[in-house]
């Protein structure tokens, strides 16, 4: 995306903020971050209803392809969450998730996707408030970015990423 385009888009996005309802996908691991999301619920910590959660056993299960698919299908933002470093139920699945996440960011940069659309966060089972704040913050950030322009036509090169 050229600089001019991005400035234009930022302007459009600002106009859209009121009506734009972003869709955020959150990947959680079964042991920490899903429980953190549950705790936000039991503590009745209100946050915007834009996030949808997909649970896997470990953040190490999250294949960058899942994130790319979500963005291609029209998600405006994706958060990958897992246990804090050292707390992984499967010893070190979250480190692997983190490594992959950096590669994913590199790939997204090449594809012209704004960096803030994807995010990695560590949330323990006791951090309901952190989860709630994370969703709030992500919704605000994505609202500023505006709707995702990452559409199938733009990413024919997707096949390169899928063996």
């Amino acid at each position: 995306m050229s600089e001019v385009e991005s400035v234009q888009r930022a302007g459009e996005a600002k106009a859209d903020i009121a009506s734009f309802d972003p869709r955020i996908l959150v990947f959680t691991c079964n042991w920490c971050s899903y429980a953190g999301a549950d705790l936000a619920g039991t503590s009745r910590l209100q946050h915007p209803p834009n996030a949808r959660i997909i649970r896997t056993m470990c953040s190490g299960r999250i294949d960058p392809i899942f994130v790319l698919e979500a963005l291609r299908d029209g998600a405006d933002g994706v958060i990958v969450t897992g246990c804090h470093p050292g707390d992984c139920h499967y010893v070190k699945g979250n480190f692997r998730a983190e490594k992959r996440f950096h590669f994913l960011k590199m790939a997204l940069k090449k594809l012209g996707v704004e960096e803030d659309r994807v995010r990695l966060a560590w949330i323990s089972a006791g951090e309901g408030e952190k989860f709630s704040l994370l969703v709030k913050d992500m919704v605000n950030r994505v609202k500023e970015l505006g709707p995702s322009s990452f559409k199938p036509s733009k990413i024919k090169s997707m096949e390169v990423l899928t063996p």
Binding site: R23, L25, Y34, A35, A37, D38, A40, G41, T42, R44, L45, Q46, H47, P49, R52, I53, I54, R55, T56, M57, C58, G60, R61, I62, D63, I65, F66, E69, A70, D73, G74, A75, P85, G86, H89, Y90, V91, K92, G93, F95, R96, R100, S132, T162, P163
Partner: protein
């Protein structure tokens, strides 16, 4: 993955009283669910988890021929087992059940936005139904558990664990690297707080262990290899020149800890021979090698509560060369000290001070401390030392005491006394350094063999510090005593008995239900690159004849291998690409 039969999904949306129904428009969600692909039945329940709700699920499975069930209610973390067993009662495999969380993750967090919450609940139900279409029945295979155990290390913890297991009728193989049994406890003279001889405790235990028919003891033994999995470990060890092979069902790690030796020159240790460690002082006292002193000085926290440990990669050192190299560099840095409090040194110093005072009432004993931690009943022990006129002087870690040689075979110690606010000099006969218990370097090799992680401090890491304090991450392996961190004798015995009890549960059951959510390799796609073998934290993947195979009993189902497989040849049962992507697609389809 293919759908074997046409999915017939039943959706049960729970009101949960007013918890969900008070915010989400449940009838609307039910009507919406009926429009979803493959959904043949949808209904709302006041409480799906009530007897009425559960029997409604069972009836509906039979009446409507459901082969997938979705319950939209609370969190699967609490209620999934209940609904799963309901499905099983109705003859449906429990892995054909899926839960949609519309309480914790919807109605409770959007309680002031009923419309948005209803839309979100629709999305959540749609995602769950989409996933349910791709669910497959799964089996939980049964594994036989051999009724013998191996205990590594024959210190106080290892002996206790071995005797406890043997008394329950299990065969125990007790492996010790030293020629003698008893570990570090044997080296102690007296033990706190009772001040009885350590031999009073350790000798009867050694006697019980050696005379027990169920215990096979291997002294001067070295472990060569450990393979297999819970219930069926295969151990190869060398006892002297003789090779021994064992088949055991469970393993208890009781390899203990080391007494940290400060590097040469630190507090003049190994430079001046009058500077010794607390353990050396202990041995001098026990063997009567100490002449009546005029003054003995003890310095606390030598080599503990300092230094930085760069966490987690230590457990990685068993993996890659780069990580090993890194830990080697970090290992050198670690020599400066250990960041944790070793917990026992304060009581140990006080114990030796009391002993000296009791042997030679005229001798002066001064304890230089930075923080004195005499927890539990040991506060009394501290008061007892004070009554015996043991002096406690607080020094600052940043201004460590200086030690130099003085005439008459004495040492001159200079220390800044924080209470008096002046620098004080002592002439003493001996300086004892209280050094922490630290993990041994051999633990790294042992951890590698067992494929279990070491914690940030280099000790064996428990599966959960509160809920599973003696279990290892890998099933069938338990930790006793100081192998997982500094402990005193009572605590070591408690953990040894706990570890033995945990191991005996497995062995008494004789059979074990293995994890169903394991990895499955498609050998047609696999190119045998070995990435899965390298990444698996449990050693569940092995490359055989150029193809990866999964040892189901070792696999815990994290899915790291499936996400990283360059050929996408690995499918996770229950969390396959197809099932996750179905949810992703369903989220966006409106």
């Amino acid at each position: 993955m293919t759908i074997l039969e046409e999915p017939r999904i039943g959706v049960f949306v729970c009101h949960c009283g007013i918890n969900i129904g008070g915010v989400v428009n449940v009838p609307d969600v039910v009507e919406y669910a009926k429009t979803l692909p493959n959904v043949v039945w949808a209904e709302g329940n006041l409480y799906t988890c009530s007897e009425a709700g559960l029997s409604s699920i069972k009836d509906s499975i039979k009446k409507n021929g459901l082969n997938r069930v979705v319950v939209a209610s609370c969190t699967p973390r609490t209620h999934e087992p209940l609904f799963r067993s309901t499905c099983e009662e109705a003859g449906l495999n429990k892995y054909l059940f899926e839960m949609a969380n519309i309480r914790e993750q919807c109605s409770w967090v959007h309680s002031h936005q009923p419309e948005e919450a209803t839309m979100k609940a629709r999305d959540i139900v749609r995602m769950a139904a989409a996933r349910a279409r791709w669910l497959e029945p799964q089996d939980e295979p049964e594994v036989d558990v051999s009724d013998s155990a191996m205990v590594i290390g024959a210190g106080i913890s290892g002996l206790t664990a071995a005797v406890t297991l043997a008394n329950q009728g299990f065969k125990v193989h007790l492996v010790e690297k030293d020629p003698q049994l008893g570990g570090i406890t044997r080296r102690l003279g007296k033990i706190y707080p009772t001040l009885q001889d350590s031999s009073e405790i350790i000798d009867p235990l050694i006697k019980t262990a050696t005379s027990n028919k169920n215990i096979e003891i291997y002294t001067s033994a070295t472990l060569k290899d450990i393979s297999g999995y819970v219930g069926n470990f295969k151990v190869a060890l060398k006892k002297g020149a003789e090779d021994v092979k064992l088949d055991v069902g469970t393993i208890v790690i009781a390899s203990g800890a080391l007494n940290y030796e400060p590097p040469k020159g630190s507090f003049q240790y190994r430079v001046l021979d009058k500077v010794v460690t607390q353990l050396q002082l202990e041995e001098m006292l026990a063997h009567g090698k100490l002449a009546e002193p005029e003054r003995i000085l003890m310095i606390q926290c030598v080599g503990s509560r300092i230094g930085e440990v760069w966490t987690y990669e230590l457990s990685d050192m068993t993996q890659s060369f780069a990580a090993r190299l890194l830990s080697k560099i970090l290992g050198a840095k670690k020599e400066e000290g250990w960041p944790y409090c070793s917990k026992i040194c304060c009581m140990n110093a006080i114990k030796n001070a009391i002993r000296i005072k009791e042997l030679w009432p005229k001798a002066h004993v001064d304890i230089l401390f930075s923080d004195l931690r005499t927890y539990k009943e040991y506060e009394d022990f501290y008061r007892r030392a004070r009554r015996l006129e043991v002096k406690f002087i607080r020094y600052i870690r940043e201004i460590p005491p200086g030690i130099v040689e003085a005439p008459d075979n004495k040492l001159k110690v200079t220390v800044y006394d924080t209470l008096a606010g002046v620098e004080t000099e002592f002439l003493c006969d001996l300086v004892a350094l209280s050094t922490p218990l630290c993990p041994s370097k051999e633990d790294v090799m042992l951890a590698r063999m067992l494929k279990v992680p070491l914690g940030p401090d280099g000790f064996f890491m428990e599966a959960h510090p509160k809920l599973r304090p003696v279990d290892c991450q890998s099933d069938g392996i338990f930790i006793a005593g100081t192998a997982c961190g500094p402990k005193d004798i009572p605590e070591s015995i408690i953990s040894a008995k706990a570890a033995a009890a945990r191991a005996s549960i497995l062995m008494a059951n004789k059979k074990l239900k293995a994890e169903a959510l394991t990895a499955d390799v498609n050998t047609d796609l696999c190119i045998g690159c070995g990435l899965c073998e390298e990444l698996c934290p449990y050693g569940a993947h092995k490359i055989e004849k150029g193809k990866s195979t999964t040892i189901a009993a070792l696999c815990r189902g994290c899915g790291v291998c499936a996400a990283d497989c360059p050929r996408r040849a690995i499918t996770m049962r229950h969390y396959g690409d197809r099932q996750i992507l179905a949810q992703v697609e369903a989220m966006m389809a409106q």
